[in-house]
Symmetry: C2
Subunit: 239 residues, 2 copies
Amino acid sequence: MTLDALPPHQGGAEQLARLLAQALLTGHWQPGDTFPRELDIGKHFAVSRNQVRNALTSLSAAGLLERTAGRGTLVREMGDWHLLDPLMSEWMTGLVNLDPQLVRAIYAFRFSAEPVVAGLAAQAAEAEDLERLERAFAGMENTAGSVDARDEHAEYDVAFHDATYRASHNLVWRQMGHLLRPSIMALIHGSQHRTDTLDDSLARHRQVLDAIRNRDVSAAETAAREVLRRTAIDLGIVS
Amino acid sequence: MTLDALPPHQGGAEQLARLLAQALLTGHWQPGDTFPRELDIGKHFAVSRNQVRNALTSLSAAGLLERTAGRGTLVREMGDWHLLDPLMSEWMTGLVNLDPQLVRAIYAFRFSAEPVVAGLAAQAAEAEDLERLERAFAGMENTAGSVDARDEHAEYDVAFHDATYRASHNLVWRQMGHLLRPSIMALIHGSQHRTDTLDDSLARHRQVLDAIRNRDVSAAETAAREVLRRTAIDLGIVS
DNA sequence: GCTTGTTAAAATGTCAGACATTTAATAGAC
DNA sequence: GTCTATTAAATGTCTGACATTTTAACAAGC
């Protein structure tokens, strides 16, 4: 695959990295393919070799590429991607045609993990955590109706789940909050946003919040599972 | 804190990155401190500015440092560390004086997550996965007795748990296998390695293996919890 | 013919030095 | 005192040359 199909870019190695990463994430190149050479990339996008190298360094740190002196740059397979790298989440966010296999994998992870996290949150949450959860939930409520606040609503949704992970008061789980963004953002494009489904989603989130506030571990686990069941429907994973 | 307390190094930006990372991980610098300047580091270790920049790029990608043009390099706090970055696991492995708070956090994560993973493995494991688990378990058995095979035993232990994560057949959980290494390696230095505790540990691992083989989800969850209870004792987290 | 060693080409990796940009502190004008 | 230039110090970027690694081609020798 060549570079010609990619859009132009403007300014900064980060931009270039995002551009190339998103091309890789949407299957623009096949695993095992040789990636274009540094000099060709630089010539194509009219940037210095430095910028190219900085971008490629990020991509290989994220497990998307494998570079070896003398041989060149190879595209790695999905199983080697560092899905938990925050940079990855940033690159995946806003991608419309994310690989369905990946969306399903992330969802399946959340479905197995998030009930546990909600349970931990119910045990460990402090006042500060509850405030964060309530703020996020209030934001979701306020933006539920209007069509042109969809992005904002998604941000509050992300904030709610992230607050749940943080409330677990575990450094490792907390890191995982990054992973939520692309999964939730995919909802915007995937679901119908009918009023009744939104109301349903809100009600389920409220139950998570209440369970955590009441320090009811098993209720939090159940409620989290219910939220994700709703999510699965909206994502089109189940009907 | 100065660079003088650090051991010398030989060759490669990776070595330098490991050296500095381990210094940061053991609290050589406090969060908020300003890290030495590029030129000073280069002069101290007699390496080019390039090498220093490559090393610092890794460290800031892992969330250990925050660099801003003009201001300098700041040391970030533990909550910002990317604990799930594979590089981090590599750096943490072999550290004797890892921060106890960190060891506890990783253990708490495993205690909440690994039962779920074992349950998923019981659902999804295929022949290939069972072979991996059995090979690892056999290795643990063979190396259980001798004192000079402790490192090898730990490797098989890591391999067993990693195989469990892989057997879940979920891309996200699989990535998390990296996190196990430092946690398990810490056991080598922390525990007494008496014969009876080793036998006990082996028996519990065997139950995980059997449960997965029998596709018994709840038995796998229980068995994984038992393994981790043993681990907690060996780590000195509980008595 | 098969192996082995040599050479050449192509790719990434490294170096060195100049320059750019950003930030913070400092001195000066009003 | 406050605002504004100026300066210093740090990281970021560019450029061109060179180093190293890998692969492939090719020739020499048995």
